[in-house]
Structure formats: C-alpha cells, structure tokens
C-alpha cells in the first residue's frame, strides 16, 4: 500500500514539475492542484491528513516573504527604484561598460535585501529608457541585471527564496549567510561581471550617439514621493540591523520582517487595498502548496528512499559530495524552478543528517547550486523570465538562444568558481 502511494505521489510531483517546466499550466495552479490531489489521496490511503499538510507548511518562510513584499509594495510607488536607476544612468556618463557595472551593482545590492524579481521589474523599464535615449540596445544590460541579481541574491538570508527556505529549515541566521555565503558570492559575482563584460564586448564597444540626453536627466525628478520613501527606507534599514542580531535576541526572521511591515504600514498609512494588491499572493500560495506536496512525499517515504540512495553516495569524500550537490542542484535549477527543488531537497538533507552525515556544509552546497543554477536558462529563475517577458515588448527581444550563449556560460563559470571556493574553504563550512 505504502509503496503504491510512494509511486503515485512521486508521479504527481514529477508531472507537476513537468507541467511547470513546459509552461502547460501556471505554476501556482499546478501546485494547488497537486497539493489537493496529494492530501486527498493521502487521506484515502490513511497516512497524510489535512493536519499533517498544515504542519508541513513552513510559516517562517511565508512570513518573511510576506513582510518583505509589504515593504517593497510601499517603496515601489515612491519612485525610489526609478531614482536609483536614473542616477546610475547619469553617473555612467553614457559609457556602456560603466553603465552595465552601475546598473548591475544597483540591481544586485537591492536584490540582496529585497526580492530580486521586484527589483528587476522596477529597474528594467528605466534601463530600457536610458538605453533608448542613448541610442544603444538594452539587451546586454537587461540580461546582466537578471544574472547579476540572481548571483548577488545568494549572499544573504533574504536575498532569494531558496536561501529563505534553507535558512528557515536549517536554522541558519542572517549572519551565518554573511559569514559563509557573502565572501563566496563576492568572488563569484565579480567573475560573472567580468565574464559578462567579455561576452558582450562587441555591444559594449559601440559608442552611444546621444550622451547629452542622459546627462540632462535629473534623478530627483524621478522620485515622486520622497517623504514616504524616506520612512520605508528607515524601517527597512532598522529591519536589516535587526536581522544582524535576530539570533542573539531569539527573534525569527519572519517576525522581524512582519514587524517591520507593521511599523511601515502604521507610519505611511497607505491605502491598504492598493498595497495588498501589489503583494505577490501567487508566489506565497505556490510556496504553501509546494510545502504540502513535499510533506506528502515525505509521509509516503519517497524522500526516505532518496536519502538511502544518497547515503550510499555520501561515503565519498565530503568535499566531493558537496561539489556534486552544487552541480546536481544547479543542473536541476536551470531546467526547473529552483523553489520546488529546494523544498524537496531540504527534508532529504535532514534525513542524511539523521543518518549520521555531516550536513552543515551541504546546506551551503544547496544554496549555491539553487542560486547560481538559475542563471543557466531563460526559465531558470523568475528574474530571467521577467526580463525576457519585458524585452518581448521591445524591438530587441531576448531569445532563449541568446540566453544559452550569454547566460549558460555565466552559470557554468559561477558554479565552477563556487565549487573551487567551496572545496578550498570546506573546513570552514
């Protein structure tokens, strides 16, 4: 009976991944349907109930995401993101390499603390504007923004969804990420940047015909509501400071994020319906439904068998095993969404831990693989999909062929550098 259930549940999960990958069905709809199917069958077979499903949801992850989404929803209409991008454009004085470095840096720094999809959604339109008035193609800049923000997001606990998931499941603090992940990401990010400058050398060698127009831009004019922006930024800064000490004060990251959201809402007092409309509910529901599906896989013993398979592999030197995890997860994340991969692998790694494997270093391998792997294909990360979709409405659309020529080398290089650093610094992880 349980074997039948294990096979059935794995089948449902794999079909769901395939539906998401092939874009036959929206990912949130797929997850809701898959979750309902798994709970229904679990009840029928008598080993997975609604209560188990509810217990499988990691509310710490959802709370952290929701809190940060509210802060971004308050900051977005103020024009602050537009302000930064216009500033980067002006400060570049129209020099392509400088423009790419500045826009890439702004996007990366923002996406280290905020959701990188939102960051890309807000920076990309201004990038198109700056490039058009300069008379150059926005393509290299859009691709670089997505790749660099994916890469930079790996540095912090709140930088990208896999990190939030891993941090919550493994009990890793904000500082743990700064100590273990940030140094690696700095080197990897620089590698990615130089590789991008090389890959786009021909496009970047073109001298923009109209530099004067960009110099005339005034960033302050792009900032519509400085008063609100200032308030939200102060709250955001306070939240980041609290993140540094959240472990010391025994505060969960989700509590910090949701309290910050509460303070910002009281201080700004926006039209709450408009603010809540900007929250990406589909993302939150996607996560919740995936937790429920993976909880079912765990209850049916699917993940247990996966643990037993991986246990056999874990007899190899731990460094090699970690590097193997980086590449395996990166490969999977390039093809499928990295969120379901991470959610499914977390219990597996916990299982390996229970079987006596030292899993401390494996969490970082998972984070690097999931984070850098997303660079590989046009559908590898949500930020990639976002810039590609935006560019479809321009005269120079980003194609998946172009991504394979520019993004894939970046993924391979970042994973290679991360593997080397991981192997060298292994005793520290």
């Amino acid at each position: 009976m349980i074997i039948a259930a294990a096979v059935l549940f794995s089948l449902i999960f794999l079909v769901s991944l395939w539906l998401i990958f092939s874009e036959k069905l929206n990912r949130t709809i797929t997850a809701i349907a898959g979750g309902a199917l798994i709970v229904g069958l679990g009840k029928l077979l008598g080993f997975y109930s609604e209560f188990d499903a509810l217990a499988a949801v990691d509310f710490n992850t959802l709370g952290l995401l929701l809190g940060m989404m509210i802060l971004v929803a308050l900051l977005e209409p103020t024009g602050f993101f537009q302000y930064l991008a216009v500033w980067a454009g002006k400060f570049s004085r129209g020099k392509p390499v400088r423009l790419l470095v500045l826009l890439g840096t702004v996007t990366t720094i923002l996406s280290m603390f905020l959701d990188n999809v939102t960051t890309v959604v807000l920076i990309a339109p201004v990038t198109i504007l700056i490039c058009e008035i300069l008379g150059i193609s926005p393509l290299p800049y859009l691709v670089s923004e997505a790749l660099l923000s994916n890469t930079g997001g790996v540095a912090t606990l709140v930088g990208d969804p896999p990190n939030i998931l891993i941090g919550s499941a493994a009990g890793l603090s904000f500082n743990d990420f700064l100590i273990h992940s940030l140094p690696v990401v700095v080197v990897v990010w620089l590698t990615a940047l130089f590789l991008l400058l090389y890959l786009f050398r021909r496009e970047l060698a073109v001298r923009p015909p109209k530099v004067k127009a960009v110099l005339k831009l005034n960033p302050a004019e792009a900032l519509n509501d400085w008063k609100t922006a200032r308030r939200v930024l102060i709250v955001l800064a306070a939240a980041i400071l609290l993140f540094f000490v959240h472990n010391l004060l025994h505060l969960s990251p989700s509590f910090v994020a949701l309290s910050a959201a509460a303070v910002a809402l009281v201080w700004v007092r926006p039209n709450i319906n408009e603010t809540l409309r900007k929250i990406e509910w589909s993302v939150l529901i996607f996560f919740a439904a995936l937790f429920i599906m993976v909880g079912g896989l765990e209850a049916a013993g699917v993940l247990g068998s996966l643990v037993r398979v991986m246990e056999r592999a874990a007899v190899m030197p731990p460094v090699l095993f970690g590097v193997l995890i980086i590449w395996a997860v990166a490969g999977l994340s390039a093809i499928v969404d990295n969120v379901p991969i991470t959610i499914a692998l977390i219990p597996v790694i916990h299982g390996l831990g229970a079987a006596g494997v030292d899993i401390g270093p494996l969490w970082w391998a998972l984070a690097f693989g999931a984070g850098f792997g997303g660079n590989g294909t046009i559908i590898g990360s949500t930020a990639n999909i976002v810039v590609a979709t935006l560019s479809e409405k321009t005269r120079t659309p980003i194609t998946s062929k172009l991504w394979n020529k520019r993004g894939l080398p970046v993924m391979l290089a970042t994973c290679a550098v991360a593997s080397i650093l991981y192997a060298i610094a292994f005793p520290l992880f």
Partner: protein
C-alpha cells in the same frame, strides 16, 4: 442636426495595395489624422491613423514608464527613424479595424462613440455602406456647441 451636416465630404483615403511609406506621405500632404483603407471596389476595410504610423517611431520605454515627465531630452530616440524595409511593408500590416457610423447618426451619439472608443476621426457611411464623409472630434464638438442658446436668444 445629423453627422452628415457637419462632416467633411471630401475623404482622403488610401488603397489596400499602398505601402506604409505611401500612407505617411499622404497624411503629411493632406494634413489628416486618419486614412480609411479601401479595397479595389472602394469598400472601406480598415483605417490607418496618425497614431499607428507614429507607433513605429515611438520608443519602447513609453510603454513601460507611466510618467515620462522627468525625461527632458529623448536623446537618440528623437533622431531614430523607422527602417526603410519596415516602411516598405503594405499598409494593411498596421491597419486597424474601421469603426463607421451611418450618415443620419445624431451628434451626441457620434461624440459619445468617439469618446468611448478613443477615436479622433469617424468615417461616415451611407445606407449602402459607401464611404461618404469623415468627421473629426472638433467637427462634431463644435457642431454640438453651435446649437447652444445664443446671445440673441438670451436678449429676447
């Protein structure tokens, strides 16, 4: 008053076999905002507006950024022209569906149609479907206002 009393009878139109470049030349020469596209039988099959033509030159960012007031100089975009091969395309590639009204249509109905469908010019057809005229928002609007009680009426 009906639309036929305020419309322009002389309609500038273009044949379906013309190119985008031809359409632009006619728009410039005749200083009009809307060109009905006619098939060989002279039947209207669509329209090309000034707006559709300008769409070819409009920068992409205008579609993404809600408020472009802060961009005081459009730089390279100001001197960007559509590619010649793009202009050599037949006019039917950018043609939009035509909205017409019968010549006996009332003025307020005509104006409301223009407002709701965001039309600046409205081609007028006879009962047999033949294009007999065209009216702009200004034509219709001023015709409506001309019916308002006049100064003399107030003095009486």
């Amino acid at each position: 008053m009906q639309i036929k009393d305020c419309m322009k009878h002389n309609v500038v139109s273009i044949s379906a076999t013309a190119t985008i470049c031809d359409a632009a030349a006619i728009v410039v020469k005749r200083h009009v905002g809307l060109l009905p596209v006619l098939d060989e039988q002279g039947k209207p099959i669509g329209v090309v507006s000034l707006r559709d033509l300008l769409e070819l030159e409009l920068p992409d960012f205008v579609n993404f950024i809600a408020d472009v007031d802060f961009v005081h100089d459009f730089g390279a975009v100001e001197t960007t022209r559509p590619a010649p091969e793009e202009l050599a395309q037949p006019v039917t590639t950018i043609m939009q569906p035509i909205t017409t009204i019968p010549e006996d249509c009332g003025l307020l109905r005509a104006y409301s149609l223009m407002l709701q469908h965001n039309l600046l010019d409205l081609p007028v057809v006879s009962k047999t479907g033949k294009l007999v005229g065209i009216a702009s928002r200004v034509d219709v609007g001023t015709a409506i206002l001309s019916n308002w009680p006049s100064q003399e009426a107030k003095e009486q």
